[in-house]
Symmetry: C2
Subunit: 393 residues, 2 copies
């Protein structure tokens, strides 16, 4: 941005991402009210996720789209920061909804502070995101500010709709889904806000005509699907230290992915029944497995009572089976069995191929854009085509 | 509105509220996307709370303020509907955060569909509220539309800040609070969005000057505090059929109220210690007390094992005390003891007095407004002064 990496061929994507992210974090810090009596109990928590190590893909996409079309950096930064705020609010509420334990190498907000506080911190981020978009009226002009606000309204609605579809699958334990069901869901749930909205907003700021915006959106949509599928692949193959989330967390959570759908439909009937039974069980508490809940205490006390002669063998067996029946959770063996099935049916490779095809489609679109001049920003968009499917975190 | 009740002295508040509510529900139904694939899994659930029987105070306040100042009804309705959407989104997230079981005579959304779906439905309502506010640009004009949007941004922030303060008290089991701590919290959490924002938005639509808006806000602020305190009073004294929430739900939930703060500081040391111990216990599952959880099953199985001779008396006592120790919840006796303390120290009467003083202050303000012509709408604002403290639901 600052003159660095103006060599179009050897664009340094990592540096571009890092520079965008640093500028956007400054914007976010400036948006947080100072001296509020809710500082410690709200705004400190609000800055937690954004300040954790992250890629900053959404702001970079917005900035790169804007600048590749000749738009100004300063005009794009507040909107890019709003995208990052929305992203983090969605992550917080997602982590509540999925009962996730880890996020970006640390405990999730709901594990740290409980569900009530996490829900409210997410709400507060959404509330804070509105004012900078209104300030665009003065910063840009009314027409562009209004179109950006309308994009954000659509974006928030698309995300909630996609999330509603997924939560309904979870609630009804639905696994009889086609690839297209999954792809339509992730396009809505994450693709729209993570890829389509950032480039549309960048292009609006650059005053791009409708057909240019449409071309960028098609490119971003293909990229988004590739990105999400690769995310699911990484979740199952990464080592925790590299990845920042739990390993195979998607299997522990019973998340719907292209990989799991492929494996399920490749299995014989008996294996599928076993897989569905595993997926139906809740996850155990892996952050604090020695948690002092009723099941944990009974697992300790029942053998002690038996050893001291207060309980006979039949009584012990009845109590132990009761605990395991009610408190039955997925085990490491369960998850490893699922992983083995996924390996056996080549489901990771299958998903990787779908991701590569989407990324290649995005690449072909971009290659045809004679109307976009070569620049470091175009080169960044170009480099994302490989990045989304080759990244290892 | 339709010519009815134009007799200023005998204004029919119930009818005015009902007419406003009916018009606003039509607006809300029109905002919900038709033919979305998320219809059944999202939008049907979104309409649940708004369609339950409710007072519709916020839209009526917005409409009355607007029309009392000579503003148009049609210009106010979409913004009034947005206020109702925000209100219902806050209720949904509140019910998650407080683990509430009943809302408006029926189970809460989180009890019906689980926490994940309830959180997402609330998010979707907030998303849907944005577009009608943008459409105000064409319906009204840019200046007023922008000021309404800015009011909504402040409103959402104030609510989240007030909520954060209360959730922090809950988390840290803080009860050493002064009346002013409580009043500042509810002004932010509910007073701002329920009273101040509706009249400000109504006045903006009516093109009222700054000093008129300030006067209406002061009036609404006093009214809001009175309303909330009366809400807390009703919670402890109403019969369930009249009230629509659980009886003494605030005590079961351990909610901070002026009433409970007064009772706690009026108690002797021993009673206060007992009260704090009770407030510290979670609530039991009253919707489904026979729920098949581990504690419930053990309460049945342990006596059976003892009767069949698999477990001796010492073993039975050990297991029973383990269950009650871990799964200890508030009991009806606990809540009745708290109610008796509140009765003994006159805490309901105390809170009622504080509410009446606030309402009287609001009434005195309104009486001095020589710049507001007599009309049915002014009469509605006037009648709210008594209504907020005399209502029985």
């Amino acid at each position: 941005m600052t003159g660095v990496a103006d060599d179009v061929d050897g664009v340094d994507l990592a540096r571009y991402l890092a520079e965008c992210r640093a500028m956007v974090l400054d914007e976010i810090r400036a948006m947080v009210p100072q001296h509020s009596r809710a500082g410690r109990v709200l705004y400190d928590l609000m800055l937690d996720y954004p300040m954790r190590d992250a890629k900053g893909l959404r702001p970079a996409l917005c900035v790169a789209a804007c600048r590749a079309l000749g738009g100004p950096l300063e005009g794009a930064l507040p909107s890019a920061a709003v995208l990052e705020l929305y992203h983090n609010a969605f992550l917080i509420h997602d982590d509540v909804e999925d009962r996730s334990e880890k996020r970006r190498d640390a405990l999730t907000l709901q594990r740290l502070h409980g569900v009530p506080i996490a829900v409210n911190v997410g709400d507060a981020m959404l509330a804070l995101a509105l004012q900078p978009l209104l300030d665009n009226m003065h910063r840009l002009d009314m027409g562009r500010a209004l179109r950006i606000l309308e994009t954000v309204a659509v974006m928030a609605r698309e995300s909630a709709e996609g999330q509603a579809v997924e939560l309904d699958w979870v609630r009804r334990a639905r696994w009889d889904l086609a690839d297209d069901d999954y792809l339509a869901m992730v396009d809505q749930k994450t693709g729209w806000y993570s890829f389509v909205a950032p480039v549309r907003i960048g292009a609006i700021i650059a005053n791009a005509p409708a057909e240019v915006i449409a071309a960028l959106e098609a490119f971003a949509g293909a990229l988004g699907a590739a990105f999400q599928i690769q995310d699911d692949v990484l979740n199952l193959q990464a080592r925790e230290a590299d990845y920042g989330k739990e390993i195979a967390g998607d299997l522990w959570e019973g998340k719907h992915t292209l990989i799991l759908l492929h494996a399920l439909r490749s299995m014989g009937e008996a294996d599928r029944a076993r897989a569905l039974a595993i997926l139906d069980r809740p996850r155990p508490d892996t952050v604090d497995p020695a948690r002092d809940d009723l099941a944990g205490r009974l697992r300790r006390v029942v053998p002690e009572l038996a050893a001291a002669g207060h309980l006979d063998a039949a009584g012990r067996a009845a109590l132990e089976s009761l605990v395991e029946d009610v408190a039955r959770t997925k085990t490491r063996d369960d998850v490893e069995w699922l992983l083995a099935q996924i390996g056996r049916h080549g489901s990771l490779g299958y998903a990787r191929e779908v991701a590569r095809a989407r990324a290649a489609a995005a690449g072909a679109m971009l290659a045809s854009w004679s109307w976009m001049k070569p620049s470091v920003h175009r080169a960044v968009l170009q480099s994302l085509v490989d990045y989304v499917v080759e990244r290892d975190r």
